[in-house]
């Protein structure tokens, strides 16, 4: 069947273009516009050129120091999250049953944390981890470990990481499970005939077959953790001190707390550029790996 090309179809896309322009492109242009100006309130703006960007990229200035501190914190957070959630998600997916009543049970159980809104997750953990009225905080302290996430930076980090692992590992697990389910039984039969070990089956059949979903999982988890805002904001508010002030939290403090629109705009543009660059690299690797494999198989 040949497809007919009809350029009138573009007319049907126009409303979407209009909405996207109004809700995304114009606001983004506004951010660029603010990044080269300064405001003292009263909606009066003054031209500042690349001044904010210069401050932002110079760690010896107040703005630069704050930006780089938050950036390293966010990158460290994302790295830790990926290092824990990806292997754990794979392990959970491998342990999930392939058939029987357990499948539905596990899927529902896995999906539950994903259905809870971000701010509720933050609130649950804020109460759960408190040492006076929270079960987790109380129990840990009773075990003789001095744990207080509101006062100790390390405790705050551990709590946020455990919270994120609790919230999002099931996403990785579900994606991997979908990848595992799509492997035809013939592969496993062939492996059994060859006498392959459990590890060999994982390394040569399951892992390569999960590659695509794993890359999607890594990409999603990286972007989400790099842009994390609500949960740490509710749990620690960026504290103690600035210990858990990630880039997004710092940005909101700068833009809405201090109303420094110019500085905040410059910071969000650089933040945005970093995200676009990293996502492009991930995406290119992902699509390219598939294309290369396709060529080899041909």
């Amino acid at each position: 069947m040949t497809k007919t090309l009809n350029n009138k179809a573009w007319l049907f896309v126009l409303p979407v273009f209009g909405i996207v322009a109004f809700s995304a492109i114009l606001p983004l242009m506004t951010v660029v516009n603010y990044s080269v100006q300064d405001t003292f309130g009263n909606n009066q703006f003054f031209w500042n050129g690349v001044g904010w960007f210069q401050d932002l990229l110079d760690p010896s200035t107040q703005l630069g120091e704050r930006f780089f501190d938050a950036l390293w914190r966010t990158l460290l957070f994302s790295a830790i999250i990926l290092m824990i959630e990806v292997p754990l998600g794979i392990a959970v997916a491998l342990a999930m049953p392939r058939e029987g009543w357990g499948v539905a049970f596990c899927l529902v159980l896995m999906a539950l944390p994903l259905l809870i809104p971000w701010n509720v997750v933050g609130t649950i953990w804020q109460v759960f981890a408190r040492s006076d009225i929270g079960l987790l905080g109380w129990a840990v302290n009773r075990l003789g470990i001095d744990y207080n996430y509101t006062g100790d930076p390390l405790d705050a980090w551990v709590t946020i990481i455990i919270m994120d692992v609790w919230h999002w590992t099931s996403l990785v697990a579900l994606l991997c499970y979908a990848g595992l389910k799509s492997i035809p039984d013939a592969y496993f039969q062939a492996a059994r005939i060859d006498g392959a070990s459990r590890w060999a089956v994982f390394r040569t059949i399951q892992l390569p077959k999960m590659r695509r979903v794993l890359l999607i999982a890594v990409l999603l988890r990286f972007m989400d953790s790099f842009m994390i805002y609500t949960e740490p904001f509710v749990l620690t508010g960026g504290g103690p001190g600035n210990a858990t002030t990630f880039l997004s939290i710092d940005l909101v403090k700068l833009a809405l707390g201090q109303f420094d629109l110019g500085k905040a705009a410059a910071m969000s543009l650089v933040y945005n550029l970093i995200i676009i660059a990293i996502c492009w690299v991930f995406y290119t690797i992902m699509t390219n790996a598939d294309a290369q494999r396709g060529r080899v198989q041909e």
């Binding site: 242009m29 506004t30 660029v32 516009n33 603010y34 080269v36 100006q37 405001t39 909606n43 703006f45 031209w47 050129g49 690349v50 960007f53 210069q54 990229l57 110079d58 650089v270 550029l273 676009i276 660059a277 492009w280 290119t284 390219n288 294309a291």
Partner: protein
């Protein structure tokens, strides 16, 4: 014409976005009148003209930021370097 003074637009921002918009328009016209196929360059990935424009623009943004961070505020040099970079991307990537 509604009063848009409250949005505080500047002619510099307008010029910047006009540049981007005309680049996109040029790419659309090129896609219509001179269709092309993907090719594989030094990055060993298949790229179209649009991909190469994206890589050039993203690279140009980072070149300008790096210039600002490491060298100084005279960004004409960074812009020149970005043009050289873009030419290299369009030629070799």
């Amino acid at each position: 014409m509604p009063d848009l003074a409250w949005m505080a637009w500047t002619w510099q921002t307008a010029l910047f976005f006009a540049g981007i918009a005309s680049l996109l328009l040029l790419m659309t016209l090129l896609a219509i009148y001179r269709p092309e196929t993907e090719r594989v360059g030094v990055l060993r990935i298949p790229t179209t003209r649009g991909d190469r424009l994206f890589i050039s623009l993203l690279g140009a943004a980072f070149i300008h930021l790096a210039w600002l961070g490491f060298v100084g505020t005279d960004l004409w040099w960074a812009s020149g370097l970005s043009l050289v970079y873009a030419a290299a991307v369009f030629r070799y990537v």
